[in-house]
Amino acid sequence: MKKYDKLTKNAAGRMVPKIVNGTEQIPFQGVGKYKPTGRKFGPRISSCVDYPDDGNKTAKDLKEALIKSGLKDGMTISTHHHFRNGDLIANQIFDIAHELGVKNLRWYPSASFPCQEHLIPYLEDGTINRIEGSMNGPLGKFASEGKMKGLGVLRSHGGRYQAIQDGEVQIDISVIAAPTADAFGNANGVNGDAACGLLGFALGDSQYADKVIVVTDNLVPFPAIPWQIHGNYVDYVVEVEKVGLAERIISGTTRITKSPDRLLIAEITAKFCEAAGLIYDGFSYQAGAGGTALSIGNYFGDILRKNNWKARFIRAGSNQYPVALLEEGLVEYILDGQTFDLEGVRSMRENPNHINTSPFTSYNYHGKGNFASMIDIVVLGATEVDVNFNANVVTHSDGYLLHGIGGWQNCLFSKCTILPIPLFRDRIPVIRDEVTTLCGPGELIDVIVTERGIAINPLRKDLIEKVKDSGLPIKTIEELKAEGEAICGVPEKPQLGDEIIAVIKWVDGTIIDSVRKVIT
């Protein structure tokens, strides 16, 4: 089977394959243009007759559960990333697969992390054919250098749910690491020594996978409440000594930045939002887990406090900072997709206004509405932006695939999408003639805020008008690009190979761009 075939130019002008890993694909047709027809994927009908009456679905260990689930060559195995860099289960699954001599697996994680570098030998020996999920760190580097046997497929969180729901990806075995579960399979992330908050990324997996295994180190008597994962979807429950390292869900990027330059960017962003009238009593926002985004949330808090306003809700990624705003009464609800620290976990456990959500509720583009488009302000990062406001979030300017998409693409549909980014990083200008990899079309990106000025997308005449007399440093994106290049020099175009090593899916399942092999 060829990794990919039949290249064509999509509506964004990018060359993308129409066949990926043997399956037909739809090239990107434009924002909002592709509408699927037909019905959702239907998983196999189960009968309770096949399950014990006493509800005890425990298996001796993970190996037994995988064998009973019918683990064999070519299957699709899914995992979630709520433990982030503290995940302990994904590596064990493929250790077992390797031991059993199973080959050619598709790993379908909601994201991968450096702790899964352990899997590189299995990618090399063919135990794993490919990763379909965002690839961070060493796995991204491995894929970028063309070493993965199959073609990588990167999806947003919403796109991952959409792919499961639409039947684009059919999961054979889903393994759900859970901080707490009962023997029937009900599970949650808020209780137990390894509490990670919630298990929303695994919701679609539990609903649509052929077999579902819950793994826990805190097996409690029925019922495990709250049942974020319903045991009625679960085939086997496995008890292990340790399911994940809760302390490692905290990453270096989930703390307020101390960098004066990034604090300046955060301050300018907040001033822009205030000047443009985007912040008001009852507004809503989403800020990511990066240090700059978290600082912006703090500035938003100052503005709310000053005006005696409240935000109706924050879409999160939560950690101590949005939790503090919630507990101060400056925010009414946190709608949370993943917790980034233990304060977030505690708040979700204790505060009924800290709501557990999933990619289905927040991001699924093939649903009856979209939370993302209801949010007033979304603040996101990017590795590159081009003069047409197109943005890249997965590859560095040298072509290496080193970041995941996360919910980034899904969030672009907000009422105002702002990318606060430094004008250059380690000499590399962030604003380019053309992004190395297109992840988000420029028509959805409204404002770029850098430490040296703000560029507003010319399509947003309303915003331009609102801030024209604000005294803020408003510049064209071309001016910002020139300023960055005056400091750093004009960069060469990176030399990338012709070979495609991964594709980037748009939120509707179409292919928006290809990622080329890096020449080492």
């Binding site: 004066p260 330059d261 604090l263 300046l264 300017s397 040298d398 072509g399 990083r425 380690d426 000499r427 590399i428 430490e451 040296r452 005294g471 005056a486 400091i487 750093c488 020099g489 960069p491 060469e492 990176p494 030399q495």
Partner: protein, 428 residues
Amino acid sequence: MNLCIISENSPYICWQILSQYLIMKTIGIAGNFGKNAKSDCRVTFEKKTEGGLQIEIRSKVNALYGKSIRKLAENVLHFFDIENAGFLIEDSGAVDFVLAARMEAAIKQVIETEKEYLLPQLSENTSSTEKDANRFSRLYLPGNTPKLMLNAGIHKPNGLILDLEDAVAPDKKFEAGFVVRNALRSLHFYNAERMVRINQIPKGLDDLRFIIPHHANLIILPKCESAADIKWVNEVIDVHKKEHGIEHPVWLMPIIESAKGVMNAYEIAKSAENIAAIAIGLEDYTADLGTRRTAAGTESFFARSMVVNAARAAGVQPIDSVFSDVSDMEALAENVKVSKGLGFDGMGCIHPRQIEVIHENFAPEEVEIERAKKIVLAFKEAEKKGLGVVSLGSKMIDAPVVKRAQNTIHLAINMGKLEDSWMDGLET
């Protein structure tokens, strides 16, 4: 360079003689490379007798700047007439002026030459400043740490200090001079006054060759104890100015950092026309007193008052010491209020986040602005009537008070506290 006009017994002569005995190495290494050395590079130069130029580049940004780094390396080597050499550049994203400085510093550890590899000077870096320019804040930047330089100006300090003294390790002093020189030519200062703190005299006199020809606005002299220090510095500055045909002013800001310096503060402040300000450095001063610096600052009250008094008597600006707790902005604000109350015109800062707090608290208060407006209007009225004396109510207003009021108005406008058109419609 002809230095024969320098006065006898100048410590600069001693330094020059000592420098001649520095042993040239066979391998030169300059710069920094490693985990914490962002925006920097390490260059290793080895002179050879054959084999041509062997340039090796290991750069984090090789995909985007590899060719331009190689071209720069070739240009530098050709400039110094080097035909056979090993040249290793380990780079973590240094911009051209840093790369060029590191290359030159590495080469000059091996090859003795008077030639200097100079990149074009930014036109904005040829501006001059006034003696009484606003100097609320001056931000210290370690002279050998490029990563802190590139964005320093965007935080809008009144002055940016490229520091060759305490912030540079002794074994890095040589290479730092090249970085500071190149920064003066190529770094974007965003309208901040271009300042350099040289080393303590006599070493500091040698630093001036990296600074004076490259349009520094102000030289900070550390640990200044007497008027003689100023005289020596000005002699060397004059040599460089003459050699390079420089006419723009080079201001001095001596820092008083010892008990002796405090006692001589007035002599120092009035010793030369180009002294724009005198500052106090409290870390060294308190050590010299045999005490330690406290938050209340009672131990330095005398010294601070002496410096303010000496500066005012000599007609220069009194500038306060830095506030070293970069995490406590409330304490900084209190410190600035005390400083302003004592009569200081500004203070140093060691972190960009301190700048705004310093500006806000040194800025003229509403009551000061209102009084300044009245004085300026009274002055206009007197001018209009052709009166030689300005009066406000029954009080006579002296010329220095008028000048100070004009400065207050100017500052208030610049800081957005007063409309530029405040006088429109007001009767004068």
